[in-house]
Amino acid sequence: MRISPDTMIFFQWGPVSLNATILFTWGVMALMVLGSYLVTRRLSAETRLSRWQNFIEILVNGMRHEIGEISGQVPGRYLPFVGTLFLFIAVSNLLSIVPGYHPPTGSLSTTGALAICVFVAIPLYGITQQGFTSYFKQYIKPSVFMLPFNIMGELSRTLALAVRLFGNVMSGTMIAAILLAIAPLIFPLIMQALGLLIGLIQAYIFAILAMVYITAATRAHRREGQANQQREKGAWKDG
C-alpha cells in the first residue's frame, strides 16, 4: 500500500522524477486556471450575471470577508496567497471522489511545500509591513534568551501545518482503502463523504492558520505603533 503518491513515479530522469503528486497537482492547477479563465473571460459588471460568475463571486467575497475579519486589515494583499492556499487544498481534497485520483495533499512533500511557502510568507509580509529590524526584533522579545524558543516555535508550527494536513488527508485515503478491503459495499461511501468534509475543513484550517500567523507577524507592529501614538498624545497633554 502506498502511503504517499510521491512513490508513484511515471518518469525518472536523474534526480528529476515525474510522480503522481506533481502530475495531479498540474491537473488540479489546470482545472482551476481553466475554470477561472472560462468564468472570467465574459464577466458582467451589470446586475444580471451568470451562475458560475455568481458562484465565484460568492467564493471570492467570502474569502475576502474571512481574511478581513481575521486580520482586521484590507484583505486585498493577502487574498491571492491565502485564497489560493484554501482553493488549492479544497479542490485537491474534493477531487478525491474521482476514481483513480490521488490527492496531492496526501503527500508530505506537497503539504511541506505549502508549509514552507507559509513559513517564507510570514516574514515577508511582516517585513513589508513593519520593516526589517522591527520584524526581527520580535524574536528577541521579551529578552534575547527567547530567540531559540521563538525560532523553534516558528519551525514547529510550520511542521505542524504540514503534518496536520498530510496526516488528515493521508489517513482519510488510507481508511477508505482499508474499509474498501474489509466492507466493500455501503460503509466506504459514508467514509468517503466524511473524507470530503474533512478535506474541506482541513483546507479551511490550513488557510485560517496561515492567515493567523501572518496577522500575528503584521499586528505586532501595529500594536507598537498605536502605543507610540498614545505616548505621544500623553506627552503633548502633559506639555
Binding site: D6, S17, N19, T25, L43, V60, A113, I116, C117
Partner: protein
C-alpha cells in the same frame, strides 16, 4: 522517506505559479467586476435619488400649480356668480320698474276713464234728474221746474243776511253794475226783470243783467259779479249721487280684490 525534496521544490514552484495564475485569471477580474458593479449600483442609486428629488420637486410644482388653478377657478366662479346676481337684480329692478310704469299708466288710464265716466254720469244724471223732476212737478203740481228754480233763486237773493248783502253790494259796485247770470235753461223776460228788481231792492243802483245759457250748469242758475257767486243747481244732488256711485265702485273693487 516520505519527503521527496525535488517534489517539494516542484510543488513550491507549482504553488507560486498557481498563485500568479489565479491572481491573473480569478481574483483580479472578479474583484474588478464586483467593484465596477458596486460603482454602477451606487451611481444608479445616486441617479435614482436625484431623479426622485427632481420628481418630488416637479410634483410640488404641479401641486402648487393645481392649487393656484383651483384658486383662480374659485375666484372666477365667485366673480361670475356675483356678476350674475347683480345682473339678476338689475333685470328684476328693470322688470319691476316697467311693471310699475305700466301699472301707473294703467292706473292713470283707469282714473281718466273713471273721471270721464263720472263726468258723463254727472251730466246724464243731471239731465235725467232734471227731466224727471220737470215731469213729476208738471204732472203732480202743474208747476214749471225752471220757473220754480228761478223762484227759489230769487228767494235766496231776498233772504241774504246783512253781511252777504253788503258784500254783494260792494261787488256790484266794483263790477260797474255788470252782472252775469248764467243758467242751464233760458230765463223768461219777466223772471229776468224780477231778478233785476230784487237786486235793486237790495239797495243797489239799476244793474246791467247779462243773460247766458250754459250747458255746464245742471239744471241750475248762477249769478256772478266781480268774483262773487250766488247759485242754485242740482249740482249738490248730483255730487251726492256721484259720491254714492264712487263709493259703490270702490266697494266693488275692494270686494273683487278680496
Amino acid at each position: 522517506m516520505l519527503i521527496d525534496w525535488f517534489t517539494v521544490t516542484a510543488q513550491v514552484i507549482n504553488f507560486l505559479v498557481l498563485v500568479y495564475l489565479l491572481k491573473r485569471f480569478l481574483y483580479g477580474p472578479i474583484i474588478r467586476a464586483m467593484d465596477q458593479r458596486e460603482k454602477r449600483i451606487a451611481l444608479r442609486l445616486e441617479e435614482g435619488q436625484k431623479k426622485k428629488d427632481e420628481a418630488q420637486q416637479e410634483m410640488a410644482l404641479y401641486q402648487k400649480k393645481n392649487r393656484d388653478l383651483d384658486n383662480q377657478r374659485e375666484e372666477k366662479l365667485s366673480r361670475i356668480k356675483e356678476e350674475a346676481e347683480a345682473r339678476r337684480k338689475e333685470f328684476i329692478n328693470e322688470a319691476r320698474n316697467e311693471v310699475d310704469a305700466i301699472r301707473a299708466r294703467w292706473h292713470e288710464a283707469i282714473q281718466r276713464e273713471k273721471a270721464a265716466f263720472l263726468q258723463n254720469l254727472r251730466q246724464r244724471a243731471g239731465k235725467q234728474t232734471c227731466a224727471i223732476a220737470r215731469r213729476v212737478l208738471k204732472d203732480l203740481a202743474n208747476v214749471d221746474l225752471e220757473r220754480h228754480i228761478i223762484r227759489v233763486f230769487i228767494e235766496r237773493l231776498r233772504n241774504l243776511d246783512d253781511q252777504e248783502r253788503t258784500a254783494l253790494k260792494e261787488s256790484i259796485r266794483k263790477s260797474g253794475r255788470k252782472i252775469n247770470l248764467r243758467s242751464a235753461f233760458e230765463i223768461p223776460q219777466d223772471m229776468a226783470r224780477e231778478i233785476a228788481a230784487v237786486l235793486q231792492n237790495q239797495g243797489t243802483d239799476p244793474v246791467d243783467l247779462q243773460l247766458e245759457i250754459s250747458s255746464d250748469l245742471i239744471c241750475g242758475i248762477e249769478l256772478k259779479v266781480h268774483g262773487r257767486k250766488i247759485a242754485w243747481s242740482l249740482e249738490d244732488y248730483v255730487d251726492t249721487l256721484e259720491e254714492a256711485v264712487v263709493e259703490a265702485l270702490e266697494g266693488k273693487r275692494i270686494e273683487s280684490t278680496d
